[in-house]
Symmetry: C2
Subunit: 283 residues, 2 copies
């Protein structure tokens, strides 16, 4: 019997998981969108909880951390990688992309493209961590697509700890958001990018303050869409045929696995029974 | 000419600096107290800004990080070490103390001793990071001194980002503090330990909410006092005679040295012109 090795290899690759990584728990909002939009895809998630947050770290360190994580994900035989962290997408994607022989998607590109499609008055706001905003990566991506668009960035360093405290629909969080957003809203923006993976968890509060005139862009959702198109184009979509008996979702962290599990269960449409801790510095 | 080598060595040791370390910038409140209270002592400070915060990390990692930092400080020939980080004092001091041939002081012991001296009704509150509170180290230190004292702990994870945002005298910070403290204040405590190095920077706000009935203990101040007594006892006090021409204060960080300098200058009675970045994982 003849076996078409090329085809069987492609079939194997289709069954392989997607590697998703973030500096901590925030990337789970991207995992959530992949689960919802690409339900047959298996996922290996790594959250760098020992070294979170990346937002205050140098580019050099963020690149080094990203390389270690990609090495780990490759040991899990992933077919594609999603950088579900705005800071790592901003600071490390260019550097790591060159070394890889599998596709890699960051959250900045898909978010920027949707913002360009969405804006009518060509005035776009971006909120994120200090490092994402300082890097002006969204600005560069957007202006490469349409140089007439003006981008206004605002760092919101208290949002992540507020979300991690669980104060999602809360008067303190609302007051903090009002302060952070007021400056941006005075700029007459019609589109606002939620440029940090934690922010979709306070989306309704941001939406309320931003008003109907401002369209919110969630890069987590756009990234899941982009990943879907990419897998289709490369014939790497999982059909689900061989998923039976395989672990669909695996979660790894570099520290404090229990705490991660709690947070994961509060936001995912899936019961995370186990997060495994690894020593990421060995990779 | 006879030289008394033993004596000359002791004299050299007296001129050596104190090593102080913290997970980031918070330990500068301890540096500030040492500068004020022991003005002839030279200081080498290390802030682990690449791996901050320790509060959410496991004991295993906090011990490993502390060991690396102590190795670095020893290359700077320090005569004593101050662990100016509540989390590292809580989780790592016992483990690292055994390996060292120079004295080491944490912030928990001095803070706990002052709380025991201060309380009349034997009801003491402690506020700190999640990890410090979860470890119950202040409780153990206090109860070892007086087992009748009841200790009430409360984790305040938003205080550090609020302080780092510079919102020190602020309505949002006050509302957050009111929520965190209300539970403790209902316990009828008469003493409250500021169990995280950032908290002295919002001391006046905490004082206002806690009221006159509650005595605040600042472990940073108590630690500087303890260090002074220890140096005296071991005949290691710097007389200041040989300080001329020597660098009094040196600052090292593991990441983002510029940002560190700004924060340092906002709280120290000294102009930090330079913070040097080192790769702490090499130690």
């Amino acid at each position: 019997m003849d076996i078409n090795i090329e085809e069987s290899r492609t079939a194997d690759r289709r069954d392989a998981p997607i590697g998703v990584f973030d500096s901590g728990v925030g990337g789970l909002t991207v995992v959530r969108e992949i689960m919802r939009n690409l339900p047959e895809e298996r996922i290996v998630y790594f959250g760098d909880t020992a070294r979170v947050p990346y937002g205050s770290k140098s580019q050099e360190n963020v690149i080094r951390f990203s390389e270690q994580i990609i090495h780990f994900l490759q040991t899990q035989d992933v077919k594609a990688i999603v950088v579900a962290c705005n800071t790592a997408s901003a600071l490390a994607l260019d550097a790591v992309e060159q070394e890889l022989d599998i596709p890699i998607v960051g959250v900045i590109g898909p978010g920027a493209r949707m913002a360009v499609e969405s804006t009518k008055n060509k005035r776009v706001g971006v909120i994120g961590t200090e490092s994402t905003i300082r890097s002006r990566t969204y600005d560069r991506f957007i202006q490469a697509l349409d140089s007439e668009i003006v981008v206004f960035g605002k760092a919101c360093p208290l949002f992540v700890p507020l979300v991690e405290e669980g104060w999602l629909k809360d008067s303190v969080t609302e007051e903090v958001a009002r302060r952070y957003l007021s400056e941006l809203l005075r700029k007459d923006i019609d589109t606002l990018i939620l440029g940090c993976t934690h922010y979709p968890l306070i989306r309704s509060l941001i939406e309320k303050l931003a008003g109907d005139q401002v369209h919110l862009v969630n890069p987590a959702y756009e990234t899941a869409q982009e990943l879907g198109r990419l897998l289709e184009r490369m014939n790497l979509q999982n059909t689900g045929e061989h998923n039976a008996g395989r672990e669909m979702y695996q979660f790894y962290v570099s520290d404090a696995a229990e705490k991660f599990g709690e947070f994961a269960n509060s936001i995912l449409p899936y019961d995370v029974t186990r997060a495994r801790k690894i020593n990421i510095e060995e990779y």
